[in-house]
């Protein structure tokens, strides 16, 4: 299971990096979204998967899945949502002001030769 998830993480990271390296702001934002998914899965996987029941106390159950990575990832999900939302609005405003979503065209006026 862990190996399979690791491969998924690798593919997600790969796609994310590819998207982030492109010139369109929209693709970059999608890339950051994919990257955060990969990161969340990575944190969970590193802690070990399915080592017990869901971390909610139930009488008679002694083995629980590690709650700490889950708490970390929960925080991360919310934060990444905040970042994505901010980034999206930034892209939207940048497009309104500059009339482009190509980051190379957004580059400052200084010539680069």
């Amino acid at each position: 299971m862990e190996i399979f998830v690791s491969i998924i993480i690798g593919v997600l990271t790969m796609s994310a990096v590819y998207m982030i390296l492109s010139k369109s702001l929209l693709r970059i934002i999608i890339g950051t979204g994919l990257l955060s998914h990969a990161a969340h899965l990575l944190v969970l996987t590193m802690g070990g998967l399915k080592t017990g029941a869901a971390p909610v106390l139930v009488d008679g159950v002694t083995e629980y899945t590690d709650p700490l990575p889950q708490a970390l990832v929960l925080t991360a999900i919310v934060i990444s949502f905040g970042v994505t939302a901010f980034f999206l609005v930034l892209a939207y405003r940048a497009y309104q002001e500059l009339n482009t979503d190509n980051i190379e065209e957004m580059k400052g006026t200084e010539s680069n030769d």
Binding site: E2, I3, S6, I8, G10, L12, M14, S15, V17, Y18, M19, L21, S22, K23, L26, R27, I30, G33, H37, A38, L41, L42, L44, T45, G47, G48, L49, K50, P55, V56, L57, V58, Y64, T65, P67, L68, A71, V73, L74, V78, I79, G82, T84, A85, L88, V89, A91, Y92, R93, Y95, Q96, E97, L98, N99, T100, D101, I103, E104, K107, D113
Partner: protein, 809 residues
């Protein structure tokens, strides 16, 4: 913190008050307040003469960084005291002079005196610190204050040029010296100069002996303007004349001499030491005097003359090392070189200081320093003329002035080379007296030029910017005091012998003193018909002859093209290094965010893979793992396919939908992982995200079709594959190397007892790690405020044009 430390730091402590005094008391020249500092210090240090002339030293230590062996140890011995007296004595005269030189209504005196005090304190620190790191700190501070003072009239292009040049060259030397200091510390295990002297034998046996010596010498040579580093000193003459008199002739440029003298006990048994210093010094002596003759600016003549005289003292310090190889003699005649060095150091400060102040007076009263315009000032400026004659003739080495005495001693020391039968001194070393003789001839010529061209000859007052007249008395007092010293020291040089020169020489030869030899300093005029007397007569005859035929041989100066001169090379190297730096920078600072991301990603992968390789973490062993259910395979395949498909999407809607597919599938995976809270959160967030994406994308253009360059795509693909594989390996590595148990056991045990909750994740978030969650909310709030401001506060005049194109809502 002893009184001695306070004395060293007094100028630095006084400096912050100067700007306030300048602003508050406009009617009194700020210099009068500053004058108190060097006068008090001079009197204070004067009392030490009794201690050092008895052969004692004063040591006071304040701990600064004891764990690193860096302490502020003030150490007053003969050598340090001599410099301290020069710094404060000349300093007092210069400050007095500057009061009349700088107009209190036109100049920003607040800055000037702060820099000057900064220099004074730094210089005292250099000569009175035993710890080399502390000395280095003060050393660089002198470079910085020199930079500030040269650039004092910063609106002038030449001032900025000179300031930068001096800074680059002296700081280069300073850094080299720091390297030498570190090497010496690694050999001896202490930064203290006394420890290094005590462990001289250990240093001499070290393989790094030569490296340390060269590095230290680089510091000394750059600071003391030795060839080929002398080029900064003539350009430093852009500083106000009091500064030139103080820093660039009497004190700061002698820091290099101080360093050589101070480090002599450590290095001087080596032939390389003797040869390097003697050769560099002698050549600098010649080159400086040779170039001084062609100058037309009075300060230019003095600048090259200073270079030349510094070379003279430097070569004497080098030759003085020969004394160590004759320690069997009762009357060590080779010490004469070192005695001459110390004596000439004092003499040079007196006559060169007075000459600089004289030039400042001429400049101040006539408006020019160009000897082609000056002439015939003798009648209108008789006192200045007298000072100039005394200073110049002393510099030329004529009796009865002090310059004659030290010059004779110098010539005597060079002729001693004939009788030295080691280090090949008796063969190639013969060049030293020959070059010294030629240099003395040129010295004689430019000394004559200084006062004849300025004060004698035809008066041409109509060409001067100002009508000349004698300077105010306050401006004449400081150079007059120095000129009187020149005469007095000429007649009674032995007032210095036992009080200053002998203790200083003893500091340079600690081993000889320890072995019971006595340093005999006895200076007198008449030695009989010695070789050096004949050399002096020869210098006078040949010099006079060449002075009167000067127009016939001046042409030799135009032979060297500018490109090949040292200044040409310096300028060229600056231009070249600028260009090279730009070219290098432009190679990687492309301005495209993609390039920087590529660097970041590749560096990240590189570091990770390297450290995994380095710590041998590639042998994965996974142990027992959960089997993968078929539906999990299906869902995983969906994620992989969706993620890969996104990269090929060219339109926005499918991209968003695929991103949503990945998000919801991840949420389902959270369910499989027994993480119900995560699954719930992910579902909610994913829904909101997709909605937000759709909302924003509605206003955005289609994804640009411009990215069709295949090379660009392949590069990106390679980078992303590398990063993807690295992260996957990281995950494998983490799985196979779990040696410690999770810290979550604590939560599992205490979640109900301490927090009365059953859902562990929730309890961790809101209770055990409550602050984390609080800050998470803060982050969200900041993002929300950011989004709100971005949408709400938009309009600026400049962007109106852009908004006309925005799509209709």
């Amino acid at each position: 913190m002893s009184v001695l430390h306070l004395a060293i730091l007094l100028p630095l402590l006084a400096a912050p008050f100067i700007p306030f005094l300048f602003r508050a008391l406009k009617r009194i020249h700020t210099g009068w307040f500053v004058l108190i500092v060097p006068v008090v210090l001079f009197v204070y240090f004067f009392r030490f003469i009794g201690i050092t002339s008895a052969g004692d030293v004063v040591t006071e230590t304040v701990e600064w960084m004891p764990s690193l062996g860096i302490n502020f140890t003030a150490y007053v011995d003969g050598l340090g005291l001599l410099f301290a007296l020069l710094i404060t004595g000349i300093g007092a005269l210069v400050v007095l002079y500057s009061i009349y030189y700088l107009n209190k209504d036109k100049e920003s005196l607040g800055h000037f005196y702060v820099y000057l005090l900064l220099f004074m304190g730094a210089m005292l620190g250099v000569v009175l610190s035993d710890n080399m790191v502390v000395m280095y700190m003060f050393w660089e501070l002198t470079s910085i204050s020199s930079f500030l003072l040269i650039g004092y009239w910063y609106e002038k292009e030449r001032s900025r040029y000179g300031a930068r040049k001096s800074m680059l060259i002296t700081v280069f030397g300073g850094l080299s010296m720091l390297g030498g200091i570190v090497i010496l510390e690694s050999i001896v295990g202490s930064f203290s100069i006394r420890d290094m002297v005590a462990n001289q034998a250990v240093i001499a046996d070290s393989p790094f002996f030569i490296a340390a010596m060269i590095l230290i010498l680089l510091g000394a040579f750059t600071k003391s303007a030795q060839f080929p580093f002398h080029i900064w000193l003539p350009d430093a003459m852009e500083a106000p004349t009091p500064v030139s008199a103080y820093l660039h002739s009497a004190t700061m440029v002698k820091a290099g001499l101080y360093l050589v003298a101070r480090m002599s006990p450590v290095f001087q048994e080596s032939p390389i030491w003797l040869w390097t210093i003697a050769a560099v010094g002698t050549f600098t002596l010649f080159w400086g005097s040779f170039n001084a003759v062609k100058q037309t600016d009075l300060k230019g003549i003095l600048a090259f003359s200073t270079v030349s005289q510094l070379g003279l003292i430097m070569s004497l310090l080098g030759l003085g090392a020969a004394a160590l190889h004759y320690d069997g003699m009762d009357d060590n005649i080779y010490m004469v070189a070192t005695i001459a060095a110390i004596f000439h150091l004092i003499n040079h400060a007196t006559f060169k200081g007075s000459l600089f102040m004289m030039v400042g007076i001429v400049d101040h009263e006539t408006g020019t320093r160009d000897i082609r315009k000056l002439g015939g000032l003798m009648t209108v400026m008789p006192i200045t003329f007298t000072i100039a004659v005394i200073g110049s003739l002393s510099m030329a080495g004529l009796p009865p002035f002090n310059g004659f005495l030290s010059k004779e001693m110098f010539l005597k020391a060079t002729t001693k080379v004939f009788s030295m039968d080691f280090f090949a001194l008796d063969t190639i070393g013969i060049l030293i007296p020959v070059v010294a003789f030629i240099a003395s001839v040129f010295t004689f010529i430019y000394s004559l030029i200084i006062f004849t061209r300025t004060f004698m000859g035809k008066a041409q007052f109509d060409r001067l910017p100002k009508q000349p007249h004698e300077a105010p008395i306050g401006m004449l007092i400081p150079p007059a005091i120095l000129a009187i010293l020149v005469v007095v020291l000429g007649f009674v040089p032995n007032v210095l012998s036992n009080s200053l020169i002998k203790p200083a020489v003893e500091s340079i030869y600690p081993t000889l003193v320890a072995s019971g030899q006595e340093v005999k300093v006895d200076i007198y005029f008449w030695h009989g018909l010695t070789p050096e007397l004949f050399m002096t007569i020869g210098v006078i005859l040949l010099g006079t002859l060449m002075f009167y035929t000067i127009n016939k041989w001046m042409g030799i100066y135009n032979r060297i093209p500018h490109r090949l001169t040292l200044n040409g090379m310096y300028d060229g190297s600056l231009v070249w290094s600028n260009k090279a730096a730009y070219r290098f920078k432009d190679n990687y600072m492309t301005g495209f965010i993609r390039s920087y991301l590529v660097y970041i990603f590749l560096f990240l992968s590189g570091m990770m893979l390297f450290s995994m390789y380095w710590f041998d973490l590639f042998n994965f062993s996974f142990g027992e793992m959960e089997p993968v259910a078929p539906y999990e395979y299906v869902l995983g395949a969906v994620i992989i396919l969706a993620a890969l498909a996104i990269t090929f999407m060219r339109s926005r809607l499918p991209s968003i939908i695929l991103l949503g597919v990945v998000g919801y599938s991840v949420a389902l995976f959270f369910v499989f992982f027994n993480a119900p809270d995560l699954a719930l959160t992910q579902l909610v967030i994913e829904t909101v995200s997709v909605a937000l994406f759709l909302l924003v994308f509605y206003h955005m253009p289609e994804i640009s079709k411009k990215e069709v360059r295949v090379k660009f795509k392949i590069e990106n693909a390679i980078v992303s594959i590398i990063v993807g594989v690295t992260v996957m390996l990281l995950s494998f590595m983490a799985l196979s190397n779990r040696s410690l148990s999770s810290i979550s056991e604590y939560y599992k045990e205490n979640v109900y007892d301490l927090a009365a909750g059953k859902n562990m994740v929730n309890v961790v978030l809101v209770d055990f790690r409550g602050f984390d969650t609080l800050f998470e909310i803060v982050v969200l709030a900041i993002a929300a405020i950011g989004i709100y401001t971005m949408i709400k506060f938009r309009t600026t005049e400049r962007t109106k044009g852009a908004r006309e194109h925005e799509p209709k809502k």
